[in-house]
Structures are given as structure tokens and as C-alpha cells.
Symmetry: C2
Subunit: 357 residues, 2 copies
Amino acid sequence: MRLQHFDWTSSGGLTLLDQTLLPGEERWLEISTVDALVEAIGALRVRGAPAIGITAAMGLVAALREHARESRAAFTTRVERDAARIRGARPTAVNLGWAMDRMVRRAGATPGEGGAVLAALEAEAQAIWDEDRAACLRLAEHGQPLLARMVTGARLRAGADEGEAGADDGTVNVLTHCNTGFLATGGIGTALGIVHLAGERGRRLHVWVDETRPLLQGSRLTAWELVRAGIPHTVIPDGAAAGLMARGRVDVCLVGADRIARNGDVANKIGTYPLAIAAARHRVPFYVAAPKSTFDPACGSGDEIPIEERRPEEVTKPLGVRAAPDASPAFNPAFDVTSADLIAGYVTEEGVLRPPF
Amino acid sequence: MRLQHFDWTSSGGLTLLDQTLLPGEERWLEISTVDALVEAIGALRVRGAPAIGITAAMGLVAALREHARESRAAFTTRVERDAARIRGARPTAVNLGWAMDRMVRRAGATPGEGGAVLAALEAEAQAIWDEDRAACLRLAEHGQPLLARMVTGARLRAGADEGEAGADDGTVNVLTHCNTGFLATGGIGTALGIVHLAGERGRRLHVWVDETRPLLQGSRLTAWELVRAGIPHTVIPDGAAAGLMARGRVDVCLVGADRIARNGDVANKIGTYPLAIAAARHRVPFYVAAPKSTFDPACGSGDEIPIEERRPEEVTKPLGVRAAPDASPAFNPAFDVTSADLIAGYVTEEGVLRPPF
């Protein structure tokens, strides 16, 4: 269970790592009721689109287990009702709705009484998980050739007096933003999955971890994953990335995506766009890693993507401590849009793509 | 005492606002001993190069006051000893040493016994303050023409659906980083002083305040100043600035400087450089505001400026709360270097300069 944040329990329940307590505490929750599952998803104890879908499907199975002796009619009605409740835990999470749809369809398509349907649903949840795990691996495999060292004038000039591990030993310095690792998926992750796979294969790597304000998913989650995986890394304030690139200390940027438009524009966690601009200035290759499901054929360009605003308190009260005057408003956009011209390629489970897709 | 963070007390002591408690609490300290002054400077209760120099000179006078009846010899010896102790409170603060030198020289050049020397030192401290106040005003005056609205395709496209105050009323949207206002100087400030002066004159302004990780001088200090000055503003995570520029919501960037090289490269608070890169991409004018004393003729270019590293805990424990695993190292450069090609001009008390200087 090394690079994993959820699993079946021995009694067929769901256990998951409470991400809201990271990195300070590693508390595993046992989920065997719909109430507990809805609470865990709603309170962001599990997050990341693929991870939410998978754990929701597994949690649904866990909650249904004690009703396996019900008749087919009673049981499938229960499946539909529970799935609807779970879906409501985070109504905007696309993968959650997709996973619940898939479970309800499977229930409807399976003959037999409650026990038989439950067995089919368990297989379906496992399939959802297995598919994501396999997709992460394929994506990470396609990303391996991108982990190459940049040789530039800046690096050559800087090499002698810079202090990070590996200035001379071939270490590849990756810069990443937010969390796109195993905590966000059912496998090793997307952008960070590329790093994890390389680490498992013994590649010399060092990761610059953007702390990723306001919610600090970089310092809280990505750094925690890298400690767990034993991969050398250094947390930085988001504003420090450009200066590192200027000094030749970044070989490649790997980030995830929330949505990718037809023209290649990418909506991702706030702070991605300035990274991409700085990378372009310093000719650092900037790659977006995301499963094919992130590509939105209905969206022509970044201009069409509405910018979701989150609560200002995430900015004015970092980690719950007041940092700004009560009278000061804050603007807290959840993501920004990186234009396609800044992106070297899109790493997916089907290979490295370039627009038009 | 509206835009002021220190003053003489009625009994000739020094009173100053404890900046470490902002924005939560406004506590004024009374300083009448060298011990108290050294503690206040060392603990960053007063910060900003000009402010440190001025309050050190005033605090020295306050501490000397009870010794006014001493002989000339005893008194001038005391001045030298106290000045040396005060200088040691922050050995790297250039303005602190400069102000203490000036006080010691004035003591040596003043005839008469303790009382006469004290009177001269009080006048000298007041002169140091008055000169800085006047320089801030002249700088701010030279900056006024820069507060102009940008008319771009992005703004025209964005104008209709964007929500900030003044999308259509001629409001100038300024973006700033760190704190460069009255809390950092003996006057209205440097980069933020331009904003304060415009505000006093009734210009329609709105300021985007970069929170400025890791120490949050933007949300803690700049936002507090703008509340106090009654100037509309919005705090943002540092990573949100580029997205705002992309949507035409920033007319001009105004930042300060720690050091300016002969070729125009600028060392300033970490996070300044990525702002400048984003501003260049979106053709947002990017100005550096700093007194002439910030220009370092001994420094040829940014490459020669060593990058000071601060404690990693400032990154891993924002506001004292743990955000990263204990096992994760952090890199905490105090500033970055913005290359001259990204800077539209240098606002000083002598006018808006452009290199070569």
C-alpha cells in the first residue's frame, strides 16, 4: 500500500487516507455507510477527479454489502437511491457522476437477486479502479522520454556555483504545481505519476514543488507523496519558480489539467499560467499531463472556459490564520488558462499529443 | 498620524507601530531605551530600509535624553557606544549603518556639552526623517503620469463580463507586490506611495495586492495600508496576477527594489520577476520605484547580485502553521532578479529614469 491512498478492507469495506489532515497526520478512515462516504467526499477527505470516482464506486459497494440478501427489486432501487445521494456530495465533480452512472447501469444489466448484483457492482468498482491505474501507468510511460536534462547557457554558467543536488551528476530537475500524484488518482498519478515511475526505475530526479497557494496542495500533498516515494524534492514559494528557471535549475515543467480546449488551451490550478510564461522565456519545455477524458471537444478555446471563484478566506486566512485585514476583499480564482502556444505537448495514456487533437 | 507608523512622543521619546502584529492588532510601542530600540529593530517590529534608519536615529535621541546633563566627553562617548549597539541590531541593513554614521558625525561636529549635542542630534534625526518624507513625495509626484488606463483588445473583450469595480468608469488598476508604502519609509512610500498620493488627489484607483509569499507583506501590510487610506483594493495569491493581466484587468505594475544594477537589472522581493515576465507578454507597463540610494554603481548586472536565502520554515510553516512534511526541504530565496529589458522605467525622486543611468 505504498503509493496508495485507499483500498478495500478485509471485510469488503473501503478505507481511505484523510487528505485534509496531511501532511501532519496520516489517518485512515473506514467507510461502510453512504453517510460516511458522502461526508468524506464533501469534506474533501478524498480529492482529485479520478480518485473521487473510484472511491465513490467502492464506497457504494461497501455500503450495499449488508443488504446483499435483499430481493433484486429492493436492491436495485437501493443502488439508485444511494448513487443519487453520493453524486450529490460534490455535484460539479464530473467523474463522480460518471462513476455512479456506470454503477447504476451495471446493476440494471445484471440478472439475479441482491447478492448477484452486489458481486457485479464490486467487479465494476474494481474495473473502474483498474482502468485508472492502468491509464496512469501508460501515461507515465509516455512521459518518460520527457525527463531529459536541459543544456543551456544559463545552466552551464550556473552549474559551478549552484547548490542543488545533482548539478553535475545528470539529475533531471522537474518543476511541478499542485498535486497530480497518487493522491489524486487510483494509480500513480498523471504529471507526478511520470515522476513516480521514473523514481521507481532509479532515474536521478529532483523535484521543485510549487507550494501552490492558496490551498497549498504542493507543500501539503505533493511533498508528502515525494517523501513517501523517497524522491528528492524541494518546496518553493510559487513566486520562486521563474528565478530558478533563469538560473538554469529547471529542466522540464510537468503540470496537470482540469480541462483542455480543442485549440490546446489548458485550464489548470491557479499559478500554472505564469509558470508557462516563465518557462517559455527560458526555453524550459512545459508539458501538460492528463487523461484523454480531460479533453473537452465542446470547448473551442480558453476564452470559453468560465473561471470558477472560490471563497476569499482561502486567500486571507491561510491554514485558518488571518493574514489580511477583515476589511480587505480577496479574489480567489480556482484556475487560470494557459495558452496552447506555451505548451510543448500533452502527455496522455495514448501518447504525447499536440493540437489539433 | 494617519499614514504614519512612528512619531515623537510628547516627552521626546519614540513611538512606533509594531508591524509584527499587523493586520490583526495595532499596538504602538514607546521606545526610550537602547535595549527597547534594539529589540524592536531586531524583531522586525519596524522594517523597510528608510524606516529602519529614521526610527533608529529617533530612538537613539530618545535614549540619550535622560543623559543631557552629561559632559561633552561623556555624552559623545555614549553616542558612539549606543550607535554601535543599535547598528548591531540588524548588521546587514545599509540604511541603519548610514543613519548611525550620520548621527555620530553630527555629534562630533557639534560644539558644547551634552545638552547642546543632544539638541543637534534631535535636529539631525528630524532631518533624516524630513528628507525621506520629501523624497517619497517627489518620487510619488513623478509617478503620477504612469497611472494611466491601458486600452487593449483583451480589456475591450473582457470589459463586459468582468466584475471588478471600475471596468467602465476610468478606474486605473494597479498591481503591486510586497510592501513599499508608508510602513516601509518615513513618508508615503515608494511604489505604493505613488498610489497613496493619487488616492489623496481623488484619482479612481483599484489595487491588486499580491499577497507576497512567503512572508505575506502584501496581505498583511499593503492591504492594511490601503484599508487605512481608503483605497479600493483586492488581495490575490501571487499566482493569480498573470491571469488578471491576460484578461486586461491590470493597467500598470508598480514594484519596489532592493538593489538596481548599472544595466538596470533589479533585485526585489521574490515573485517580482514572474510578474515582470507576465506583464511583458501582455504589454502591461512594469515600473520599478526606488530612491536613488537603491542604485548600486558598483554592480554591473543582476548576475553579480548574490541571492540571499532565508529560513526554510518561512515556506514550510506559513504564519507558524506546518504546511509541508518535516522531511521536506524548502528553498527560500529572499529576492529574484528582474532583467532590465522587462522594465518600462525607474521612478525616483529625480524623475523617471531609464538605463544607462
